[in-house]
């Protein structure tokens, strides 16, 4: 159990730190890093590589935004195996829907309740 937490820290931390390094070295904006990570996540779904990383690091791999790109490809292909090419359109949001829905609902109510801070 301790090892699982340690792996989550190391992999999650490393993913964030590498992003920060690229951001500083190439003088980019945060949005470039998030987009790069989403793109890399969707590519690293090949051969279930990203699933193996999640198996190893747990939340260390499933919380970074790269898992968003991974989940989209993964669920699209899962549905495509059932429905053919149409499945890609049907399945895109299968796995990510919960996170996006939660973000929309919480963002809505919290912005209703709280006041913007300088």
């Amino acid at each position: 159990m301790i090892m699982k937490i340690l792996y989550a820290f190391l992999i999650g931390g490393a993913l964030c730190a590498i992003g920060q390094l690229i951001l500083d070295k190439f003088k980019l904006l945060p949005i470039h890093i998030t987009l790069l990570y989403v793109l890399l996540g969707s590519i690293f779904d090949i051969g279930n590589l990203y699933d193996k990383l999640i198996e190893f690091a747990g939340s260390g791999a499933s919380l970074p935004i790269s898992s968003f790109g991974h989940s989209i490809v993964h669920s699209a292909l899962e549905k495509a195996n059932e429905l053919g090419i149409l499945g890609i359109f049907v399945g895109v949001f299968d796995k990510t829907a919960s996170g996006i829905t939660a973000a929309i609902v919480f963002a809505f109510f919290i912005s209703l309740i709280f006041k913007p801070k300088g």
């Binding site: 993913l15 920060q20 500083d24 898992s67 989209i72 996006i100 939660a102």
Partner: protein
């Protein structure tokens, strides 16, 4: 002339503390992932299936990211942590909540609902486009 401009640019632009930023992103990003992992473990302890526990954990982290943004804490943390707060899913929740909060003064419909995806929309567009392209290629090639 251009060289002069470049020189002045170099002298006046703030120096990025590359090593410090790297370490802070590592530590804070890692801690956010630990919190997520602890929630996953908690849900597994409550006899939730592993995949479902992961979904619960993501939802809790999104809620925490959103709440700390509302309290004004997340952006303060972000000034130190950089990518450590941007890359985890809490950063996604933060970008949605903060753009909704910022435009709250324009009202619920024109402000909050209209502007919520101002920053976060790019992530969804990029995710869907790259996901569909990669997915279609892999489906057609059978890999």
């Amino acid at each position: 002339m251009n060289q002069k401009i470049e020189k002045v640019k170099k002298e006046t632009s703030p120096k990025r503390k590359v090593f410090f930023n790297f370490i802070m992103a590592f530590i804070i990003g890692g801690i956010i992932c630990i919190i997520g992992e602890l929630f996953t473990m908690l849900f597994i302890k409550l006899k939730v299936e592993k995949d479902i526990a992961n979904i619960y954990s993501v939802i809790v982290m999104v809620f925490l990211g959103s709440l700390t943004t509302g309290l004004g804490l997340y952006d303060k943390l972000g000034q130190i942590a950089g990518c450590g707060t941007i890359i985890p899913i809490t950063g996604f929740a933060n970008s949605m909540t903060s753009s909704a909060l910022e435009s709250k003064s324009e009202g619920v419909i024109l402000g909050i609902i209209n502007n919520m995806f101002k920053l976060a929309g790019s992530v969804i567009v990029a995710g869907v486009v790259s996901g569909v392209v990669v997915g279609a290629i892999r489906y057609l090639l059978g890999i």
